[in-house]
């Protein structure tokens, strides 16, 4: 290729603002979601009873995160039409016109392939297969199917976000066990109240986009009841984990405190009406949504603390 041929291929009318930056491609990977994936997968790997070389831990977590990012890019490619309608997502790179849909698709598929292959090399085939299934579940089962077809979309789709600690555990041990399933269940049960609290104060975003969120199909009152029911089930599960082999005194104290606060928040949401919420700008719903983020971070952080106590011989288990 020469200078002449290079320059002939450049369309000179490309507007400066249409040129995607490196940051736009990073945004396609949903970095905030990735941070949660990194943390929960890391905990899943570190609480496993098998020591793993630190570099292998780093590599496995990195490619689990990249796999999660890849599924985020595929989600943005498929959902560009509804992202454009919703205020919360309108500025994403594809609906904002900064990245072409085909580029998001290519990035998503390419990173999916690389992340699965590299996880197989760094950890094992079981972990890689689980990562591949997670990407498939999020991109196809949730994004392409459930999200636009059922108000249970985030209940079932929540499984995609619940897999990372299980992948971390399998990366360390090579097998799925009860502890991995319990960590999966913790995020799975946490997702509905977390997202429904968000959906309550997102008002008409989902209805404008035609996404059948529970708030749209069954109304706010039914959603408030659902939040409380799921929070009760979540609290029982979260506290119960304290008495398994991955639990410990720090986790138990954390779970008791966090679940008491979360239950109180869910009950406060249940007691309110849409009129109450509109009067104070959905203050309670926003508070519970923020609390739900801290809730998950503290639970997994406590699991890590108890695992550290065990590794130093400070805590020897319940028996």
């Amino acid at each position: 290729m020469t200078d002449a041929s290079l320059h002939q291929s450049i369309p000179r009318e490309i507007p400066r603002e249409a040129e995607p930056s490196f940051r736009d491609y990073v945004d396609l990977l949903k970095p905030r979601v990735m941070s949660l994936v990194v943390f929960t997968a890391l905990v899943g790997m570190l609480v496993a009873p098998v020591p793993v070389h630190p570099f292998l831990v780093f590599t496995a977590i990195l490619f689990i995160a990249i796999g999660a990012g890849a599924s985020g890019a595929l989600n943005m490619w498929w959902d560009a039409d509804i992202d454009e309608v919703m205020r919360r997502t309108a500025k994403r790179p594809v609906p904002a016109g900064r990245v072409a849909p085909g580029e998001a698709l290519a990035l998503g598929l390419g990173l999916s392939l690389i992340s699965v292959m590299m996880l197989a090399l760094a950890a094992n085939l079981a972990a890689a297969a689980l990562l591949a299934f997670t990407i498939f579940f999020y991109a196809v089962i949730y994004t392409m199917w459930l999200k636009r077809s059922t108000p249970q979309n985030i209940v079932i789709g929540g499984a995609a976000g619940a897999f990372p600690p299980m992948i971390g555990w399998v990366a360390a041990t090579g097998t799925v066990s009860l502890e991995a399933v319990l960590m999966f269940a913790l995020i799975f049960m946490w997702t509905p109240p977390h997202f429904w609290a968000l959906a309550l104060f997102m008002k008409d975003d989902y209805s404008k986009a035609g996404v059948p969120m529970l708030t749209v199909t069954h109304g706010h009152d039914a959603t408030r009841t659902h939040i409380l029911v799921y929070t009760v089930a979540l609290a029982a599960l979260a506290v119960g984990i304290a008495f398994t082999s991955i639990g410990g005194p720090v986790y138990l104290a954390t779970a008791l405190a966090c679940n008491a606060l979360f239950l109180r928040g869910a009950w406060a949401i249940r007691k309110r009406t849409t009129t109450d919420a509109e009067e104070d700008g959905y203050a309670t719903e926003k508070r519970v949504f923020r609390l739900s983020l801290t809730y998950l971070f503290l639970h997994f952080g406590a699991l890590l603390v108890d695992a550290t106590l065990k590794s130093f011989g400070i805590w020897g288990g319940w028996t």
């Binding site: 450049i10 400066r16 491609y25």
Partner: protein, 65 residues
């Protein structure tokens, strides 16, 4: 013939190109590091040096007893 960056497009894409270069270098470093760790975890390795290694021969009756 060398391609010379004369168009302003090159300047606009500089950030992206530097980013891709850093990612590729990081990827190469990770694959290298992964190889080193995996080889270290394989245990003792004997190089094939065209020399007869008695320790690899099957044990024979009456030999070394």
């Amino acid at each position: 013939m060398t391609i010379r960056a004369t168009h302003e497009l090159h300047a606009r894409r500089r950030g992206r190109n530097v980013g891709v270069a850093v990612l590729l270098a990081a990827f190469a470093a990770i694959v290298f590091g992964l190889s080193v760790v995996k080889v270290q975890q394989t245990g003792g390795i004997e190089g094939f040096d065209h020399v007869l290694r008695p320790e690899m021969l099957p044990p024979q009756e009456g030999v070394g007893q």
